[in-house]
Amino acid sequence: MGSIKDKVAIVGMGCTKFGELWDKSYKDLMVDACYEAFEDAGIEPKDIQMAWYGSRESGFTGAHLANALKLEYIPVSRVENFCAGGTDTFRNACYGVASGACDIALACGVEKTKDHLGGFSMYITVPFDRSLVEWDLPPVSQFAQLATRYFHHYGLSYEQGRQILGKIAVKNHHNGTLSPKAHFRREITLEQAMNAPMISYPLNLYDACGMSDGGAAAIITTPEIAKSLRKDYILVKALALTNGAGQAVLQPEYDFVHIPETVAAGKAAYQEAGIKKPRQEIDIAIVHDCFTITELLIYEDLGFSPRGKGPEDVEAGTFTLEGELPVNTDGGLKCFGHPLSASGLRMIYEVYKQLQGKAGPRQLKKADIGLTHNVGGVNGFFNCAVAIFGKP
């Protein structure tokens, strides 16, 4: 099997402010994200040869992006892959360039979740009519089941478990205060995180990410063209995507204390990028903290922490801005919220800026290798995207 490593580069990125953007339409977000990317790359919209547009609800065909940007008669594909939609949009554009089908591609993900009444569960519609016995559970109850079992498996009391999850929320909220484009930008205390109203036991309000509007975009090209555009372009080192086949709910052997889709995507990405010791080799990881328990499992599933030792690393501050392996330096989904198809590209945006040394007050001292991660769906049926980036 071939490898994407060093075959494509990012030469420009854009990201809107995330939040309750009542005065912006989804096309406004396309224009804002893409024009920032064009400017960053030093190219014109007419230089784009192919485009990929990620959305779950905000525009069902590529023509929506074409219309907003006036991309005239070029191929624009719409990508939908739930929580991993943003990264998958980026992935498709990368393969478009790597195949030689085009030299310069645009990947853009936008979501206007706040145009829908209600929260996340209200926002998700099923694509097909059906018997409705598979009544989609709100995502929080999927992840809450992981937390319940994690506490049980490792003998953590409710208070002990909550303490660990609370510390992850406190960390991400702190990082969010340093992130001008984040939706939520205020510190929270561990006490607040411990005592917030219950959403789905054992997860409370501060374990859950918010819902926001937002958009992000990337310009992808060959390393050769990238060199001609800027010195600090960023190279793609790995792109992995996995999907569950229902194993977690079909096979009682599944333990609910890890997400196998993440393990498999991490393994594939590390192999492609040539990473042997992720904890040592990766400088920054922006991961899918849709709920705090998800981030805890990711530490272990991506090999940052040994099995069952995630809580110890949380206690030790391993994943803070000053820690050994900073995770969610921009505040994560916790502070940006989760406009589904925009999130993956927002994560890449943070890695891109950190690797370029342009992350402002939250800039890490050493940022040479960065990783992004998305996971979405329900137990047994998660899709997971892991991408790794490096400097030229």
């Binding site: 926002y123 559970l137 319940t148 009682p252």
Partner: protein, 467 residues
């Protein structure tokens, strides 16, 4: 010899303290949870009745209720599917009358006598509504009874039956009414209940040559706590020793199911040789004489009336009861956009109604819902059906949603592992949030999931094992 070969019953776990309805009202009434209706209760009673019995031997199912989910659509087929009965059996609904339960019983007895079936299941259930605060609301209880009628291994032989009808508007509910109506109680009881049931019992005794002393027990439908005592006394029975307790203090009048449920209560206490008189009421009366055989000892392992009545949770919050019954308007919060598909539901009916998973014939892995390709060995289309509805399970993990609008919060989601294999993710009901834990033993219960686009969607939920 035609008679009852097995019995079963279902009383919902929840009881409403009558004090919640009216100050000074005594006792408690059985009430459905928000996700129960007459169909789901009938399924529970039928499954209780089928304990230890080969489902393949049942040749028919009659379902009786006055509280149907549909005006036009068979409901016996839903009950038969959820009980995982054969497809080539006779099914019929008996409706519109509190006598429908015994009408179905008589029809089943006649079918066996005529030789058109060897075993017929009779199920009756009701969950009637009285106007909030009314005496009727205090009287009504929810529940279901099931009797398996056959001509071999008979536990109670039918010695005689006798029926009359009368035309009267004493207790009724018109099309479009939510609540049951009643004419003045003095009229209803004297010209209705007492005259008609009195007439059928004396008519039966006269025709078949019985006298009150011939019966160990008399089981009478009764509209309220006192009326059957008056009736028994007026007919020459000793109400204290012969009359089956109508269970008003603990359950209430369960309508169509009432005579069957009281009969089950009587059979639970009966010994071989006992003779039982059963009489229903509802625009007439059906009466039966039953002689108990020693076979009765072989069908004791049912939850029945005693087991279900003992397993309860008393509620004192009248508002909760009104919400469960849909009688209190709730704030409308927009839900997810979803559409019901009859073809999809029809395709999934083996799984969704019968709760049949599949067992891989190559590697033996039990899987739910049914798959085309095995999750373990990847063999294609090599499965046999595997029933999960009668299997016990344990909670592997769970979540409790306190936010998403529902008639009862928190909404508990469980992932359960069945004893003997198979895993399933499903909602949990009839639970106390503080009791839900990893490893908790559960069993499956057929429940109403939601009403959508005029369709009532049913599915199975886990419940703590009822003890």
């Amino acid at each position: 010899m035609v008679g009852i070969t097995s019995y079963g019953a279902y009383v919902p776990r929840f009881r409403l303290n009558r004090e919640a309805i009216a100050k000074g009202a005594r006792g408690e009434k059985a009430i459905c949870n928000f996700d129960e209706d007459s169909i789901t209760m009938a399924v529970a009673a039928v499954n209780d009745c089928l304990n230890g019995i080969d489902r393949g031997t049942v040749d028919g199912l009659y379902f009786a209720t006055t509280t149907s989910a549909y005006k036009e659509k068979l409901e016996a087929s839903i009950v038969a599917m959820a009980a995982d009965l054969r497809e080539d059996i006779f099914t019929a609904d008996f409706a519109h009358s509190l006598r429908a339960g015994t009408s179905a019983l008589r029809a089943a007895i006649d079918a066996i006598k005529a030789g058109s079936a060897k075993k017929v299941m009779v199920a009756a259930a009701d969950c009637r509504l009285g106007t909030p605060g009314s005496a009727l609301e205090q009287n009504f209880g929810d529940g279901a009874g099931a009797l398996l009628i056959g001509d071999s291994d008979v536990a109670a032989t039918v010695e005689a039956s006798y029926s009359v009808y009368n035309e009267i508007l004493d207790v009724w509910r018109a099309d479009g009414d939510t609540f049951v109506r009643s004419w003045e109680e003095r009229f209803a009881s004297t010209r209705g209940y007492l005259e008609v049931v009195g007439g059928v019992v004396s008519g039966l005794m006269k025709k078949f040559g019985f006298s009150p002393g011939d019966f160990t027990k008399v089981v009478f439908y009764t509209p309220d706590a006192r009326r059957s005592t008056d009736l028994a006394s007026s007919l020459g029975f000793d109400a204290k020793t012969q009359l089956q307790d109508p269970l008003f203090a603990t359950m209430g009048n369960t309508g169509t199911a009432f005579p069957l449920m009281l009969l089950v209560a009587a059979l639970e206490e009966a010994k071989a040789g006992d003779r039982i008189l059963l009489a229903s009421y509802g625009n007439g009366s059906d009466a039966f004489v039953l002689k108990v055989t020693d076979q009765i000892e072989k069908i004791r392992n049912r939850r029945g009336m005693k087991g279900h009545l003992a397993s309860k949770k008393v509620i004192t919050d009248y508002k909760k009861y009104l919400i469960w019954r849909g009688l209190l308007p709730q704030e409308e919060i927009p839900g997810p956009v979803r559409f019901f598909s009859a073809p999809a539901a029809w395709r999934e009916s083996e799984a969704n109604f019968r709760l049949r998973g599949v067992k891989c014939q190559v590697c033996g892995t039990i899987q739910f819902p049914p798959q085309r390709v095995c999750t373990k060995c990847h063999a294609k289309d090599q499965f046999e059906p595997y029933r999960l509805s009668d299997k016990k399970a344990k909670i592997f993990t769970f979540a409790m949603d306190y936010v998403t609008p529902a008639p009862e919060l928190p909404t508990v989601t469980t992932t359960i592992d069945f004893d003997g294999g198979g895993r399933m993710e499903c909602y949990m009901t009839d639970r106390e949030p503080e009791q839900v834990s990893c490893g908790l033993p559960v069993e499956m219960s057929f429940r109403k999931l939601l009403d959508k686009d005029g369709a009532r969607i049913y599915f199975w939920k886990s419940i703590p094992v009822r003890t």
